[in-house]
């Protein structure tokens, strides 16, 4: 299923993903979050917080 990068408008096919997964736009390299899987849609990934880490 095709998705559109909200940052650069690139379109590409994305499958086998789960909601909440982080993917990278193949054109502009921005991190995107899979918002839904049926249909597949993506949005900008959450911004990293100061206390984020492993």
């Amino acid at each position: 299923m095709n998705v559109t990068c909200p940052e650069c408008g690139a379109e590409w096919e994305l499958s086998g993903v789960e909601q909440g997964e982080i993917v990278t736009c193949p054109d502009c390299g921005v991190d995107l979050e899979v918002l839904s899987t049926n249909p597949v849609s993506v949005g900008l990934a959450p911004e990293e917080g100061e206390d984020w880490g492993e």
């Binding site: 789960e18 909601q19 909440g20 997964e21 982080i22 979050e33 990934a45 959450p46 917080g49 100061e50 206390d51 984020w52 880490g53 492993e54």
Partner: protein, 304 residues
């Protein structure tokens, strides 16, 4: 979890699939592998997205907060969110792989250092200061170059190596102006000469699953900063130190970072939310599967 339930009744095993909640901020390859391993085992598993939580602190139980699971695995990258959620789960009697206390000790580098030192585990000399002038004194004490780290957060962010007092002052002044009070808690550590690598060891429930070298030309040998993972044999020394480090903070699941010093191995830190994406490429051990099996073994049992 085994033994008597809090109300004194003998627990009975679940007659339905275990409900496993995986607390996440988003899904990384590790969480995808964990979800897949759980589904392969017929476990009812669901990600819990931290940003969607509304935790009812006044409630005596978990369902009202959407947290009615038999066991929860914390894979959240937001330390404050995971801390509050784990404490609420603890209150409601829902087991978690790592306790709220273990996560608290690991999510704060100063607490982590104290716990390691208390257990007599080799650890780079570390000082804490709360003012630029006193932090400069701390740098003089550990000697230059000195390493400055934020007490919260990881992935090698905002790490700095100060080669002398002028550089240290500039870094400290900048940190102080960053806005969050956390950045004015100055964690000053001796710089340890080491090969261009460190060692990531993964432990689940008193068992070392695997280890990998993380190699990089940069002094920060962190996978999130592009370090390459290659296999590392688990020697008795690595195993002993990793297990002792886990015990020091009470962690059941952790990635332990070791460095090779002239005097032997030392523990830099224990990460209860340890990533293992790099390690997955260097070992045949099904790390995600072992984590899920351990979670299931801890699952809440209903009182008869």
């Amino acid at each position: 979890m085994t033994g008597m339930s809090p109300n004194g009744h003998a627990p009975t095993p679940l007659t339905r699939p275990v409900r496993l909640g995986v607390l996440v901020s988003y899904l990384r390859p590790e969480e995808k592998a964990i979800l897949a391993a759980a589904r392969d085992r017929g476990i009812e598993v669901a990600p819990i997205f931290d940003r969607q939580l509304v935790i009812d602190l006044s409630s005596p139980d978990a369902p009202g907060s959407g947290l009615d699971f038999d066991v929860v695995l914390d894979r959240c990258v937001a330390h404050s969110r995971s801390g509050y959620t784990l404490r609420a789960l603890q209150r409601w009697g829902i087991p978690t792989l790592n306790s709220a206390e273990a996560v608290r000790l690991c999510d704060d580098k100063a607490e982590n250092s104290l716990a390691l030192e208390l257990a007599g585990i080799p650890h780079p000399r570390t000082l804490l200061a709360f003012d630029v002038a006193s932090a400069l004194q701390a740098c003089e004490t550990v000697g230059y170059p000195a390493v400055l780290k934020p007490v919260t957060g990881s992935w090698g962010r905002l790490l700095a190596r100060a080669n002398g007092p002028e550089q240290a002052r500039a870094i400290l002044e900048q940190k102080k102006e960053l806005g969050s009070f956390h950045h004015a808690i100055f964690y000053v550590q001796e710089y340890v000469e080491k090969p261009d690598r460190d060692i990531r060891v993964y432990v689940v429930a008193d068992r070392v699953l695997a280890a990998s070298y993380r190699t990089a030309k940069h002094w920060v040998t962190n996978a999130a900063r592009g370090a390459e993972s290659i296999p590392c044999p688990v020697t008795p020394e690595i195993e002993d130190l990793a297990l002792r480090a886990c015990a020091a903070v009470g962690a059941r699941l952790a990635g332990i970072d070791l460095i090779e010093t002239r005097d032997g191995l030392a523990v830099v830190e224990v990460n209860t939310g340890g990533e293992f994406k790099g390690l997955m490429t260097t070992t045949d051990v099904d790390i995600a599967g072992v984590i899920v099996d351990e979670a299931v073994s801890m699952a809440r049992v209903r009182a008869a």
